[in-house]
């Protein structure tokens, strides 16, 4: 059997979570890399001179929270085939449910006066019940799923581009709600603080599992605050990824895939289209809500403008660049899309250090960067200065857009498609097919 990984003799083998040896090895390596990244990362940290050095914990943890929402997007768009550009809206719903239940506060009437918390003079108070995470996290998902069910009657009737446009409408309505309800959303520009990632039984002082200070976990291993949150979120991500995989390979997932492949044919075969589209929306919104709540509480403070069209398009990019609408593709896409800006940022910072030196690298750095007037490099190191040399922040948007276009034109199957081509090449090697 070892020599023929694609020979399957039972349905169980076909529907396994990791059906081939390669996938098992790849997943193990990915897990190893995650753990190494968290534990001081001797792999990358050993090359401090190079631009990839330094700690990756913060961007990677951010990526994981967005990855949970991306799993939901894959179920809706990749598996059910319903194009939605409103994922950020559902993330926002989840995040605000979380902050309403878990935010600082001590009862139904206790809206903390806004200025006390922020030091910003504003008459609005922010509401929070101060409940523990085991309540607010599932509630965030359920609230988003309910809102998803609520809009699904409209979404189920329209299809294709009309659905995409309708969901764009949701994003703008969500942005307006954020501006309109400062009791929940906080200030429109600066937002409010989210509950910390702490496992408490109820509202006691010392949490069951402490995740906001350095210390020893379970008497076994000494971890910093960031590492603790990273491990917690990674564990959640793995849990949700396996759950998503199981949804896809269950009766529900097959029904969703049937609707994607040909909705009328699915209905003829006895798959109730409306019902399963609604289920697809609910599952996807549940993931979005959880992802949004975790994203917001990991970052600590999120402004309502964050739940914008750009965040939604982020998920489209993840789906397309990862490719194929699978869980593995989603993980690949999330890593690629969310870490590229960080790599670009570090690369330019590294280039900035090289300008003073000599050799090819220094001249390249001089060509790319602008330091002072009379220099025509396209990248400016001083942030937010208007005019031609653009900041790295803006260049990252350009790179993001160009990547989407290039992938769509040259590799519509994304990284997954590239992998398939490499695999097929080596399968037939030394023959071409």
């Amino acid at each position: 059997m070892f020599r023929r990984p694609l020979l399957r003799t039972a349905y169980e083998q076909d529907a396994a979570i990791l059906p081939t040896y390669f996938q098992k090895v790849a997943m193990a390596l990915l897990l190893l890399a995650t753990v190494l990244t968290a534990l001081g990362a001797p792999v990358l940290g050993a090359i401090p001179e190079f631009f990839l050095g330094g700690t990756w914990l913060n961007p990677v943890t951010n990526m994981i929270t967005l990855g949970i929402a991306a799993l939901g997007f894959t179920i809706l768009v990749g598996v059910t085939g319903q194009v939605s550009i409103g994922h950020a809206f559902f993330m926002g719903v989840g995040a605000y449910m979380a902050v309403a239940l878990g935010g600082p506060g001590d009862g139904v009437t206790a809206c903390v006066p806004f200025h006390e918390e922020l030091g910003v003079l504003d008459q609005a108070g922010v509401c929070g019940l101060g409940l523990p995470m085991w309540i607010w996290l599932p509630a965030a998902g359920v609230a988003a799923a309910l809102v998803g069910m609520l809009v699904s009657p409209a979404a189920v009737r329209v299809r294709g581009l009309y659905l995409a446009i309708a969901t764009i409408g949701l994003v703008f309505i969500g942005l307006h709600l954020g501006r309109m309800l400062p009791e929940f959303a906080g200030d429109f520009e600066s937002g409010r603080t989210w509950p910390e990632l702490q496992l408490r039984f109820w509202k006691e002082e010392t949490p069951l599992v402490d995740m906001t200070s350095d210390g020893t976990w379970f008497g076994l291993i000494h971890l910093s605050e960031e590492q603790k949150q990273f491990f917690f979120l990674t564990a959640l991500f793995i849990l949700f990824a396996i759950a998503a995989k199981n949804i896809i390979r269950s009766r529900t997932g097959r029904a969703l895939a049937a609707i994607r492949d040909r909705d009328i044919a699915a209905e003829v075969m006895g798959v109730p289209e409306q019902k399963y589209k609604r289920i697809g929306f609910a599952i996807s919104s549940f993931y979005a809500g959880i992802g949004g709540a975790l994203f917001a509480s990991y970052n600590g403070r999120v402004a309502p403008v964050q739940w914008s069209l750009f965040l939604s398009v982020d998920f489209i990019a993840i789906l397309l660049i990862g490719g194929a609408g699978t869980i593995a593709g989603t993980i690949l896409g999330t890593i690629f899309v969310e870490l590229t800006p960080e790599v670009v940022k570090r690369f330019t910072e590294w280039l900035g250090d090289q300008v003073a030196g000599e050799g090819i690298v220094a001249s390249f750095a001089n060509l790319m960067l602008t330091s002072g007037s009379g220099d025509f490099g396209p990248i400016s190191l001083t942030p937010a200065s208007p005019g031609w040399p653009m900041s790295v922040f803006l260049w990252n948007f350009v790179i993001f857009g160009v990547l989407i276009v290039l992938f769509m034109i040259f590799e519509p199957l994304g990284l997954f498609g590239i992998w398939i081509r490499i695999r097929n090449y080596w399968k037939g090697w030394p023959f071409s097919y």
Partner: protein, 324 residues
């Protein structure tokens, strides 16, 4: 109800409708010709408005070091003739931009699914927008409108000149599209929209139809961007970093209401959405505390969602025939 307020609100609504119609026509021409829903319209329209600003306010040519020969005498507000000639020049530049975009990103995708094409334009939106944002800076770029914020007074009601100008622009744009539709190219475009392969078999140059649709569509979007930059409209005579990047997304309800592929639908949709938006903004303002400030901007989306539930293909759109 106060008659003066009513007239002013009506004029404002019709002017906004004119802007929506121009932008919506750009969407529909591109969708008709190439089956692409142009999500990059915001960035392209803002780029057009920015070219106008470079031509008229900076008195330069985009990407070229020497000055703009069409700019009038230095140091004074441009005369209407100068401004209009620069406007036409801008539209030509925008059309060329459309040709370039079509050639580089849309042409390789002929025959791909609708969603793939739409996503390409979303990518374009994010690739082009930073250049606009960077070039306009926080305070915005002047568009050098010769009549500024001046207004005529008609029976106590103030009618800004810009509103009339926007209406005239929309009228001209509508006539151009109307005659284009009747012309040889228009017929070819409708044939391509109906069936690309059959059109090719009849000897229609599909590539050229694509190019013309994009050139015309982007020029219309730029025209809408410039029209919306004129003074009593919120950006206040300039290209704004806040408002212009979402302008086209505000027009999406218009084309959904009318139906993605209907020119007549855009005209009805533009007027209806603008009436709903402006009148809700004017006559529900006492409920501001409940609805939240700026609620009028989401009225179009609410109308759109309701229309989509009742009529999933808009009022004039062609229902997609689905076969098993």
């Amino acid at each position: 109800m106060d008659v003066t307020t009513f007239i002013q609100t009506l004029v404002k609504a019709l002017a906004l409708g004119a802007v929506y119609i121009m932008m919506g026509l750009g969407f529909v021409i591109i969708f008709k010709g190439t089956q692409v829903l142009n999500f990059a319209a915001s960035a392209l329209s803002m780029a057009g408005a920015m070219f106008m600003s470079i031509l008229i306010a900076d008195r330069g040519l985009p990407f070229l070091p020497f000055g703009n020969p069409l700019a009038g005498p230095e140091g004074e507000t441009p005369s209407i003739g100068v401004w209009l000639s620069n406007l036409i020049f801008t539209l030509i530049i925008a059309a060329i931009l459309g040709l370039v975009v079509e050639r580089l990103t849309i042409r390789p995708m002929i025959g791909q699914p609708l969603f793939a094409m739409a996503v390409i334009t979303l990518g374009l939106e994010f690739a082009i927008r930073p250049f606009n944002i960077d070039a306009t800076a926080l305070e915005g770029r002047s568009l050098g409108v010769p009549w500024g914020a001046e207004a005529w007074t008609v029976a106590d009601a103030l009618i800004p000149k810009s509103y009339v100008a926007a209406a005239i622009m929309a009228l001209i744009a509508g006539l151009v599209v109307f005659f284009f539709y009747r012309s040889r190219f228009g017929v070819a475009m409708r044939a391509v929209a109906f069936d690309q392969e059959a059109a090719m078999a009849q000897g229609i140059n599909v590539g050229r139809v694509f190019a013309i649709a994009w050139a015309l569509g982007v020029a219309l979007a730029a025209l809408a961007g410039i029209a919306y930059g004129m003074a009593p409209f919120p950006p206040g005579g300039s290209v704004s970093q806040e408002i212009h990047p979402v302008l086209a997304f505000r027009v999406l309800p218009v084309i959904v209401l009318g139906g993605l592929d209907s020119v007549i639908g855009v005209i009805y949709g533009g007027v209806m959405i603008a009436l709903a938006e402006v009148f809700a903004g004017q006559y529900l303002s006492q409920y501001n505390s409940i609805l939240g400030s700026g609620y009028s901007t989401i009225v179009p989306y609410l109308v759109m969602l309701i229309v989509l539930v009742v009529r999933p293909y808009g009022l004039f759109g062609t229902p997609e025939i689905r076969r098993v």
